[in-house]
Amino acid sequence: MIPSSPRQQVHGVANMIMGFADPFDALLDLQRSLEANLSSDWLQDLTTSRGPFPPINVFQQGDDILAIIELPGVSRSDLQIEAKENAIRIFGKKAVDYPEEASLHRRERVSGEFDRTLSLPVQIEPDGIKAEYRDGILALFLPRAERDKPRSIKIT
């Protein structure tokens, strides 16, 4: 039995509306987690790289890489970042709270845990990474490792 998703664990009225398990949901979950394994680097200690939350945009800034990630409603203390030389992992949880005794009219925001790894085609300098989180946007500045940069060869 697959437990209900974290987003269904809200208090009060919302729980009453959303709190039952759907067999099709369970089947979809299975398919999704199988597909997630396909698109992640297989048998490595990495989490899914494509598709799931949060969405990532990657930009090039000169030699370096800038990843901009939308995380509205995630507080700084719930967000964690781990870096390796060619991968960066972003994980944490997004909470959506309603007060007790609130009647819900519309519910579009999702909540729950997320964990994803961005694999990079170049080597980065893990010590030089700068992360900035403001207004629900995480900007990761990933400097390309000096040893990975192309070198010009002088012809003698």
């Binding site: 987003r7 979950d29 409603g73 207004d135």
Partner: protein, 132 residues
């Protein structure tokens, strides 16, 4: 196998406008939660990247309109390599069914989430009637 459901990305919906805009940018509909407590209506909107000086909230003719402008200057000089989401301004409006006390609307912006508290007007609050 993962035992919990993965968070899925809600694709951004583009705003369907009656008029065309003169702004050279796309406008998206922010995800919203609406709930009512005994004090009034609460509207929570997700507008990542919008800072508190670029938010415009107004109530006119029982229509609540929220606009959030994005600062595109941060994206200048960047060359996209891989993209998963679109970037644009945010706009959404709701027709209010209850009477709102406009002078007491409170707004708070935190981590890209705008929370609006719209207190019910005094005459619209439910009142218990004493039966003698």
């Amino acid at each position: 196998m993962a035992s919990k459901k993965e968070l899925q990305v809600a694709q951004k919906r583009e705003l369907e406008k009656r008029e065309e805009t003169t702004l050279p940018a796309r406008i998206f509909v922010p995800n919203a939660d609406i709930y009512e407590t005994k004090d009034g209506l609460n509207v929570v909107l997700e507008m990542p990247g919008v800072d508190k000086n670029s938010v415009d909230v107004r109530v006119e003719d029982d229509v609540l309109k929220v606009d959030g402008k994005l600062d595109f200057s941060k994206y200048q000089g960047l060359q996209p390599l891989y993209t998963e989401y679109n970037v644009g301004h945010f706009s959404r409006s709701f027709r209010l069914s209850g009477k709102i006390d406009q002078s007491k609307i409170a707004a708070e912006l935190k981590d890209g989430v705008l929370s609006l508290r719209l207190p019910l007007a005094e005459q619209a609050k439910p009142r218990a009637i004493q039966v003698n």
